[in-house]
């Protein structure tokens, strides 16, 4: 709830502000965004699993993003496209985490429906 609200506020602010990412930084920002998105999806999962720890979330959000950007930068220095590594790792994690979230939500719903049915009986 709060997360969605924050996301909307951020998007709104970004759209109305005149800030722009310079073309040669856009790759790093993109990788950092991917890492941060992974943190958010992971946080949602842990929240549903009731293992959410805000410290892990905040540290992961910033440090993963930073590291991904730095890794990409080093890759560019070496002439290896290390952004691919970040894309694959974080992309896979985002997808698997979102799949886990979906499974939990569906099974929760099933349990609730079953409960309702039991109560009606």
């Amino acid at each position: 709830m709060w997360a969605v609200l924050g996301l909307l506020i951020g998007i709104f602010l970004g759209l109305i502000s005149g800030v722009q990412v310079p073309a040669n930084f856009s790759q790093y920002v993109a990788v950092a965004i991917l890492a941060s998105l992974d943190s958010v999806v992971g946080a949602c999962l842990s929240y549903l699993q009731k293992t959410f720890d805000s410290n892990i979330f905040f540290s992961g959000f910033f440090i993963n993003g930073l590291f991904a950007a730095i890794l990409t930068y080093i890759g560019n220095l070496l002439g290896v496209d290390l952004s691919l590594a970040a894309i694959i790792v974080f992309g896979t994690r985002i997808l698997s985490n979102s799949a886990a979230i979906r499974r939990i939500l569906v099974s929760n719903r099933k349990i609730r429906l079953k409960k309702n049915l039991d109560e009606e009986k």
């Binding site: 951020g10 998007i11 856009s26 993109a30 958010v40």
Partner: protein, 242 residues
């Protein structure tokens, strides 16, 4: 206590997600700006070209201005005394030699155009005009006593290079394509004879079906060399006493 903690952590969550959203939207905007279509790129190039052309024009203006100040100086010298007349004539002669003045006189106009009916079995480069053709033509004209030469309006001066870049020929850093009009001021009969002698440059070019027309004229007008004349490395050795 627990409530307070919960609220602060939720606020942090809000802030962090706002940051993420901000980054995403800013990045989205920038990517959209950078991924312009090829046609937009052409427009950009066109604008760059236009601005370069404007710059060129303003530089040309500058040259004209400087030339007019030189003329002013010369006029003022003329007015102040007669002792300078000898120098004035020397200067005029030197300028004519250097191609810095508009000149006219009798001569020939040679027009070169690429071969029309090229043999398709032969490489195409045999049938187009090369910088070497132009160079030997200019050389031939000079050897026959031409006193001033221009190629497509560009005056050939002592520092002029004639070279080709792709399909165009560059003279004085100005590029032009075929047909090439080479004007030469001098003894028109001698010039024509030098070009058309058997085994000469014109017969060789005509062998390759390259269109060559030579036209004698009683009056050819020629513009002055319009580029800059600055010497970076040359220093005048002590001039002889007059």
């Amino acid at each position: 206590m627990i409530d307070k903690q919960k609220i602060t952590s939720k606020l942090y969550m809000l802030l962090v997600c706002a940051l993420l959203g901000f980054a995403v939207s800013v990045q989205l905007k920038s990517v959209q700006l950078n991924n312009t279509s090829p046609s937009a790129r052409y427009e950009e190039l066109q604008q760059m070209y236009m601005s370069e052309q404007k710059k060129n024009a303003s530089l040309q203006d500058q040259i004209n201005q400087m030339q007019s100040t030189i003329t002013n100086y010369r006029e003022s010298i003329e007015q102040t005394g007669t002792t300078y007349i000898g120098m004035e004539q020397d200067l005029l002669r030197a300028e004519n030699l250097a191609g810095l003045t508009d000149v006219y006189g009798p001569g020939v106009i040679v027009t070169l155009s690429d071969a029309k009916n090229a043999d398709p079995n032969m490489p195409a480069e045999y049938f187009i005009i090369h910088d070497s053709d132009m160079r030997s033509l200019v050389n031939e004209l000079l050897a026959a006593g031409a006193e001033a030469i221009s190629i497509n309006g560009e005056r050939v001066v002592s520092t002029t290079a004639i070279r080709c870049v792709g399909p165009v020929v560059i003279v004085n850093n100005t590029r032009s394509g075929a047909p090439f009009v080479i004007k030469a001021i001098g003894d028109s009969a001698a010039l024509e004879n030098a070009l058309t002698m058997p085994g000469g440059i014109v017969s060789e070019l005509r062998n390759w079906n390259i269109g060559v027309t030579i036209q004698k004229s009683d009056r050819i007008d020629m513009k002055a060399y319009s580029g800059s004349v600055t010497f970076k490395y040359v220093t005048t050795a002590k001039s002889k006493e007059n």
